[in-house]
Subunit: 217 residues, 2 copies
């Protein structure tokens, strides 16, 4: 089975992956955009937006690592868009517009079926109503021997952690205080006991924590 | 008024300042001792225990900073000891034994009065039943122009944050996963909106976050 990796999962110093009061205007909640500012200071992050400039270095390298040896992506429906319930039509193409930055098959977990959506750049969105194990199996087949990225959001990562399917989780601690919002690390987070963090390092004002499954005893 | 500073407040990667199931045997809860291991790898931390060795460098400097220009300390009762309710006698002298490492007046917040307890090394424990403002006023008088350290625990720091009395809060993020326990950063933590974190840096595998009150507008 291909490895399943979470990259660039940003949380605030007080532990929130999104701020309070998420809405269509602020899908990351109030203040949540600040969690991702470090990305848009890197060369790769700016290139993703079609912009020039940005720095190279550790943060740039780590941001790019999400694409290295990744042949497929899994995400929850809310990470793909704001529509809830049955799809009213097929006009929603994802937060990324017509040029999504994936370049491979993306599996969007939803209870509401829809035909695959082929975009430019080799990205095809597949809308699947299946268990984490089944979705990972589909994504691994599509990845052709490479790893699969788990894009988020929080609820989706929790599902895969609980199922013991996440191999690596790169958490970025950003020095902002959001005060409230959505957390990954809730008391009793299921599956977490199997993981440890052998490496914590800082670069350009943020801290990178590399969490991985403990080796089998 | 003297400044009020929190130093070396360690939390796990998942946000806990103490592990679950705190007890007399494990006052920091299960796994909680791991939050403080970084201190006992420093020269100053080992010296506090009467041991030789330990490293110098950033972590050593930061650990020592808790004593620089500090003339008094405030703590909650649970940080002083495990006794709850009325004092059965005066035999409890604090977790630190007969040589506590303070060297100044320490104000222990408790609803249960008790005469001051003078220890070696110039430490005197005062047991006070008063509001955060009143306790800070007492400690500031005792500090003779120096700052006051707020030692903890979590509940005590929350009280002083809510009252807007904390000037600096040095949080140390330690790469362990405790899974459950006691948090400082709860949703809606009172008073937090007045603070920001202008500086996050790593040393020897832990991350130091320096939180301070925003300047008056």
């Amino acid at each position: 089975m291909a490895g399943l990796r979470v990259h660039n999962f940003s949380i605030s110093l007080d532990g929130y992956a999104a701020g309070p009061r998420q809405s269509l205007e602020e899908p990351l909640g109030e203040g949540g955009r600040r969690l991702h500012e470090w990305i848009f200071e890197t060369r790769s992050g700016r290139a993703m937006l079609g912009q020039e400039g940005g720095g190279t270095g550790v943060n740039d390298d780590l941001f790019k690592a999400r694409q290295a040896r990744i042949g497929g992506t899994i995400m929850g429906r809310n990470m793909h868009g704001p529509v809830r319930g049955p799809w009213p039509d097929e006009s929603w193409h994802g937060w990324w517009g017509e040029d999504p930055p994936f370049g491979h098959d993306v599996f969007v977990m939803t209870h509401h079926g829809r035909p695959p959506l082929a975009m430019r750049n080799g990205t095809t969105f597949h809308f699947v109503d299946a268990s984490p194990e089944e979705v990972l199996s589909l994504a691994a087949s599509a990845a052709g021997g490479e790893d699969v990225a788990l894009g988020g959001g929080v609820a989706t990562i929790k599902q895969f952690l609980a199922a013991g399917l996440v191999d690596e989780l790169h958490v970025v601690i950003v020095p902002v205080l959001l005060g409230d919002g959505e957390r990954l690390f809730e008391p009793g987070l299921e599956g977490l006991a199997a993981y440890s963090c052998p490496n914590l390092t800082c670069a350009a004002g943020v801290a990178h924590a590399f969490i991985s499954r403990d080796s089998a005893p």
